[in-house]
């Protein structure tokens, strides 16, 4: 159509017709309420399977409830919690848990950092390296723990075979499950093997957002790779470091699969003959399902929850301080 055929718009235009009341209500419902309806399934499920059990657990923790003695019910108040403070099994398990946690998280995150900085360079077949590093994470926990359990066997395990190659433990092979230090190292190895790749990839993706000119400037000023790693890379990926520290804190304090499968008699859940590698989660399982003392187990799990909150908070404060002015 040609320009001459455009007509000017009439000055008086009737206002658009107002929609009927039903349509208005529907429109408002669509805008304001539907969003909540759409996200409600998650919250309903979380309330049923997440919040309710936590509250119910708290109620059970304040009661006496033993499966093997149904007559002994009633309110215990803080009785279960005071019992916790004097229970040497609990403190032993707490010590074990912290020991294994430190042995597994610290080397794991450090090695993940180094691995990520190595992967950040120009390599051939980068995708293969990245997939390879992630493979341990993909294995089911029980399967990999069973294999490691055989690996650390006293008489026929490969770990002792390696040790014998360097001349250690020829006559009496090391019983990995017997001592605290050996069982902690074994379990920490299992956890590290599984999670280094995952953390390395997280760090790698964060490292790739760091502009290259920062490194070039540092190289000009004479900073070597080690210095570059600690003074440039780590502060600049600090949010991801905080994230991985929190995750590994929560996971490390809840270690359950590895100590259970490492035990020679998994059903006893005793964490070794002298409870040398019994973690808190394992102790909770043993008290609840083997000793059948549900009230006490619930109290212990609440104590674990509080401990994780405190430790995760402390860890977050510490790691936030490594960030420079971003």
């Amino acid at each position: 159509m040609s320009l001459t055929q455009i007509r000017p718009v009439a000055q008086h235009q009737s206002p658009p017709p107002t929609p009927g009341r039903a349509k208005l209500w529907l429109h408002r419902f669509d805008n304001k309420t539907i969003p909540y309806v759409l996200i409600s399934p998650f919250f309903i499920l979380f309330a049923v399977f997440g919040i309710f059990p936590i509250i119910f657990n708290g109620v059970v923790a304040a009661r006496n409830w033993r499966l093997d003695d149904p007559d002994r019910t009633g309110w215990a108040g803080a009785g279960n919690f005071t019992r916790l403070l004097q229970d040497e099994d609990f403190w032993n398990a707490l010590g074990n848990t912290f020991g294994i946690f430190i042995l597994s998280s610290v080397p794991q995150l450090l090695m993940a950092l180094i691995l990520a900085s190595l992967l950040n360079r120009k390599l051939r077949a980068t995708t293969w390296w990245r997939i390879g590093v992630l493979l341990p994470y993909l294995t089911p926990v029980v399967a990999s723990t069973l294999v490691f359990s055989v690996f650390f066997n006293r008489d026929s395990g490969m770990a002792n075979w390696f040790l014998s190659l360097v001349g250690f433990g020829q006559e009496t092979p090391l019983d990995w499950r017997a001592e605290k230090w050996s069982s902690w190292i074994a379990i920490a190895t299992m956890v590290n093997w599984k999670w280094i790749g995952y953390n390395a990839l997280l760090y790698l993706s964060a490292m790739q957002t760091i502009p290259k000119d920062v490194y070039e400037a540092a190289a000009v000023d004479g900073a070597g790779p080690w210095r570059q790693l600690w003074q440039i890379t780590v502060p600049m990926i600090q949010p991801v470091v905080v994230f991985t520290v929190i995750l590994s804190t929560i996971g490390g304090l809840q270690l359950f699969n590895e100590p259970m499968m490492f035990d020679e008699n998994p059903q006893s859940a005793s964490g070794g003959s002298d409870h040398q590698f019994q973690t808190i989660a394992q102790l909770i399982y043993k008290v609840g399902w083997k000793d059948l003392d549900m009230g006490y187990a619930a109290a212990m799990s609440w104590a674990l929850f509080l401990i994780i909150l405190i430790v995760a908070g402390v860890n977050t404060l510490l790691t936030k301080r490594i960030g420079g002015d971003r």
């Binding site: 008489d155 020679e264 399902w289």
Partner: protein, 431 residues
Amino acid sequence: MERLGRRGFLTVAAALAATLVVSGCSGEKLEGDSSNNKGAGAVTLKVNFWGDMGLDQLKAKYEAAHPNVKIVLNSGEYNAQHEDLQKKLIAGSGVPDISAVDEGFIIQFRSQADKFVNYLDKGGAEFESRYLPWKWKQSLSTDGKQIGLGTDVGGLAIAYRTDLFQKAGLPTDREAVSKLWTTWDDFINVGKRYTEKTGKKFVDSGTNMFNPVLAQQPAGFYNEQEQLTMDGGPKVAFDTSIKAIQAGISANLVSFQPGWDQGFKKDQFAVLPCPAWMLGHIQKTAPDQKGKWDIATVPGGGGNWGGSFWTVPAAGKNVDAAVDFVKWLVQPEQQIEVFKTVGNLPSQPALYKDPAVLNFKHEFMNNAPTGQIFASTAENLKPQFLGKKNGPTRVAVENVITRVQQGKLKPEDAWAEAVKEAEKVAKSAQN
């Protein structure tokens, strides 16, 4: 199709998907409904158990005789089945109609006797005289409710390697070997002779000496008032196992772990405390050792390791039909049938005189008359009261023995440690 446009296409796709989901979800329910409506009084019984209890043939027989009963067999893993039963009992629903419970777990469940059907209320009192007395007592709750009818027992004998005995200059004929060790001290002495001659260990583990000896004592960890009594039976058993460890005859392995399976193949031990159900395991683990194993009687004469019971949870939907099926399962004909198919030893002593049991010869075990041997050990065992905390106390004391084996605890200090650990378990029951 063109007229539908994108919106219409999406609607049709969504409708199709919804139909698939709805039909997929409701499939099972429809099937269940129709089978229940087959006829008046049609009943489906769900049976939870583990391994092979010879139920496949028995199920067909029972269903043929009772057309309105359908039996669903649910075999699972040993520990998982018991944990599942425990959880369903707490939940109060979803229980199977019949559940097999093993000797290791029966104490835990008999303390919750109100959640099970009491066989004495359903005409089960007549069964008491048929059973081995200690077997009947194991599933009897403290207030006299009978929650389990026993199906099989393990018995206990000593399996030994004839070829290794020959190399050590020991007799290999089973009568002669049984005479060698009528007491546990004799057993340890034979072990010392073997280890001195061959340099290899004799028995697989110290804990496997503790449990048989304890089972032979008149009193166990707890007396009938549920008080811990360590000085009687437990001390005798503990001293025997420590003596064996000090004599250096124990290979310090843990049963059913990969190291133990390897121990078979590497000749790391020459004898093995062996209940009836272990025979299958030996065959499976070391099939090339056929003919090299034989069975002798256990020192002390009597013994038992393992065995199961049939229980009926009270929350089940078809309690009376389930009780009828269990009563049928424990009849002599059915128990002999099970013995013939899977080798599980019945727990009713009258059956030990049945020719099927008496004349049975086990091919793998050098044609030993295993029916006779295990039956006599089961018969010779006296009933022993097992307290509520028997399981955890036993685990605690076994851990102390393991620590001595691992060299972490001196034998002289071991008994005090065992008493301390047992008292911890007993005390935790009081809180």
